[in-house]
């Protein structure tokens, strides 16, 4: 009898937690979609692959939701998943020779063409400068400067002490500024 009551309790609570998780996933999708989209883009994913990668990020969010510590902020966790998905996609060789073409479908109807062109040009230059950073500096720079992740939240993802991360950020800022200056200079004096 006690066993059946216990199993009933477990079943009911499992169902409840299942429903909660479904609701939570839908809510995360609704509220954090823009953040994930932007993060994938800022991590340097090609425009044409962006939709697939965002899809894969949310698949992993769904699969990992049970292990997520709700006491911690959501965005660093999402950033970590997006970082891994984009890194894995970059490592996988498939379609790597495909020529990139921008899809106008991704351009928001809320931004004027002029604004979009300016932002797109700035983004290309920033991406080019970011690409020149060493890997460990790139992670901390993109996360902190472009994706609003606090340095303290990167300790686990980067696997290095906090002070090392601050040091990397300082070096990354200098290297980024120099790289961008070179890119702009090369454009002005071809």
């Amino acid at each position: 009898m006690a066993g059946s009551v216990q199993s009933l309790w477990v079943r009911e609570n499992t169902n409840e937690s299942t429903h909660e998780r479904v609701d939570e996933f839908a809510q995360i999708y609704s509220t954090e979609f823009d953040y994930v989209w932007e993060t994938v883009r800022r991590l340097g994913a090609p425009t044409r692959d962006q939709e697939d990668l965002v899809h894969d990020v949310f698949l992993r969010v769904h699969a990992s939701l049970g292990t997520f510590d709700r006491a911690r902020p959501m965005r660093p966790w999402l950033f970590g998943i997006a970082f891994r998905v984009v890194s894995e996609a970059r490592r996988s060789g498939r379609n790597r020779f495909e020529v990139n073409r921008d899809d106008s479908d991704f351009i928001s109807e809320q931004v004027s063409p002029e604004q979009s062109t300016i932002a797109s040009d700035a983004r290309d230059k920033v991406n080019a400068a970011v690409a020149r950073l060493p890997g460990e500096q790139r992670l901390v720079f993109v996360a902190h400067e472009l994706c609003d992740v606090a340095i303290a939240d990167l300790v686990e993802l980067a696997g290095v002490p906090l002070n090392t991360l601050y040091s990397r950020l300082r070096l990354a800022r200098v290297a980024f500024a120099n790289a961008l200056h070179e890119i702009l200079g090369a454009e002005a004096n071809p």
């Binding site: 479904v22 991704f106 700035a122 961008l180």
Partner: protein, 241 residues
């Protein structure tokens, strides 16, 4: 040095204000997630998709239908999206007029061009699955991604079989389904190779040549290019073009 730093900060600020994703992209991903995770795992995602459909419809002049009607249509689409968005389901429902032939790899009257394109591996298409969230939660994410790949293969197999019968309507439907559900899927190169073949059969060798050039531009190192060219030449000779 401070000028260089200020310049960097200004560019970072501009890059941060990039374009927001279009509502259509959000809706498409919601549909794909509903398809990948099963309807029970993501009922609100279907509504998300429906809401975006309503926004898009409103933006494109469907306002005349009235706000109430739009909401009803959006809710309806949201409901059916959960079931119909599954690629395998769509493939099965769309191709019911040729069920067994479409699923068979032994295609009658296979053209030289078609035989030149490697077939996707033999996969028995399965009926649409309905997984519960608990099943999905236990399932490693790699399995979910692998099942997407299987669905990609199934759709391309349908397209390939239909092309073997010179059934260009069914082939186009399967290729369009693949493009809609897996626009950047792992097998997009295979899809575009089959598309070149479809253009050749449907519109002739000259159109096929143009499609092949476009394919080459997009996939400059594709392993399909040479076999497509050889087969296209054979097709042109056979049809006297």
């Amino acid at each position: 040095m401070s000028r260089i730093r200020e310049q960097a900060e200004r560019y970072v600020a501009m890059a941060r204000n990039g374009p927001k994703p279009a509502a259509a992209a959000k809706a498409r991903i919601a549909k794909r997630l509903a398809s990948s995770l099963g309807p029970s795992a993501s009922p609100d995602l279907a509504n998300e998709s429906g809401n975006a459909v309503a926004k898009t419809a409103g933006a494109s002049g469907a306002v005349a239908l009235g706000a109430g009607a739009v909401v009803l249509v959006a809710l309806f689409l949201g409901r059916i999206a959960m079931h119909e968005s599954h690629p395998a389901h769509r493939a099965f429902t769309k191709h019911t007029h040729a069920p067994m032939e479409a699923l068979s790899l032994e295609v009658r009257g296979e053209t030289p061009l078609l035989s030149a394109i490697p077939a996707p591996s033999r996969v028995q298409p399965t009926p649409p699955r309905s997984r519960t969230i608990n099943q999905v939660a236990r399932e490693p994410v790699e399995n979910i991604l692998r099942s997407s790949l299987r669905e990609e293969r199934e759709l391309l197999m349908l397209a390939r079989s239909a092309l073997g019968r010179a059934d260009t309507t069914s082939a186009a439907a399967a290729l369009d389904d693949h493009a809609r559900f897996f626009p950047r899927g792992e097998l997009r190169e295979e899809r575009e190779a089959l598309r070149v073949h479809w253009v050749t059969i449907e519109r002739g060798a000259q159109a096929g040549e143009r499609a092949l050039r476009s394919f080459e531009d997009r996939f400059p190192r594709s392993v399909f290019t040479d076999v497509l060219r050889v087969a296209l030449n054979r097709h042109a000779i056979a049809s006297g073009e």
